[in-house]
Assembly symmetry: D2
Homo-oligomer: 122 residues x 4
């Protein structure tokens, strides 16, 4: 698995070479990130959850989903970079918070019904 | 900088312990990712681009932005994991594509006016 | 059914009274719109499509979904207003475009398989 | 100004003719709505707030922004319709709620600094 540090450096260089740093404010990059997530949603929106689980085996949709995931990662890495945030460290810290708020005991099955309270995510 | 592989493994374990794997289809995780990006946008929406560039120095907003960035990274890593995608590899491949489509020569200044064509991103 | 013109006027007044017009640029309002859509997604993200179809019958989730839909409509009406766009007219025009691009004959069943091409939306 | 009731009826007919009702669950439509909002953000993401305020005067960008706004309205009207929600009524109710939470007195200038508390929206 390649490193997020390498990606961050590559995206930074990509922006610098093209003189695009002037556009890369956190506000603009957050919008770009949301735009790419929107494209990702568009690939999955009409699929059933089961179909979405098999999407990478589809010769047409699979590569498109992979490319959208790549775009999202690019903008997220860039946004973290301009904010001076260690992306993985921020995620691990948040996961520690979530582990305290959603203990294993309380969380099991907590989303098994509609309106069942907290989302089953980190 | 911590590794994305470590984050991926930690999130996987987090979901398994809570019996939440059943909810983590690509479709659902893409929605959760979009929801977290929405929370990130909400933190930045009323700031000027200049204010957004200084947001991490704000004692109240800075930690909130960092936490939202963390949440986005968590769901993105989880989504890539359930899809069997190497997140950083997908991003680097996409960056190579973008480098071919937006050459340094053509790209310089391309977004300097409204409607100036392709977005100055990867 | 109440009118969009009434809503538009009410939101305009709401912003004016609070001296918030200065923040309501199209860029900021588009971010706010996306933030509210993110909250809507968060309410539906762990539901199956079938559960989502029954969501309004849930005494806890139903009112929350209705409130999020309301928030989205507020920002969309406000955004159209500051842009000088007749919201419903823009939608009807787009629907006419879509009717030409996706004829009834070609469209029937077009989304019945993964990767089946154009999304079954307007 | 055209009516939201007319739009709702037109979109309903559009979906029925194409046999797309099967795909129009609230979950799927919320994703489609978010996808269209993502396209709208993409049109505005590199503009300054001031440029965004002038976007409709741009002969290239203006029509694109109008079309995206139309797409967002289409999916929002459709989503409200399948949920059985009166869209404008839900928005007006939410605005009443917001008026109670953010009184005119307290709200004036509340977003005038970074981290200045509640967002200056409805």
């Amino acid at each position: 698995m390649s490193s997020i540090a390498e990606l961050t450096e590559r995206v930074r260089e990509f922006a610098r070479e093209r003189d695009w740093e002037q556009f890369h404010t956190p506000k603009n990059l957050a919008m770009a990130l949301a735009g790419e997530v929107g494209e990702l949603l568009a690939e999955l929106q009409w699929l059933t959850p089961e179909e979405s689980a098999a999407v990478m085996a589809d010769p047409e949709l699979g590569p498109r989903v992979r490319a959208e995931i790549g775009d999202v990662a690019i903008y997220l890495a860039r946004l973290a970079d301009v904010l001076g945030i260690d992306l993985v460290r921020a995620a691990l810290d948040k996961l520690d918070d979530s582990a305290r708020r959603y203990t294993v005991e309380a969380a099991r099955g907590s989303a098994s019904k509609i309106g069942g309270g907290h989302p089953p995510g980190a």
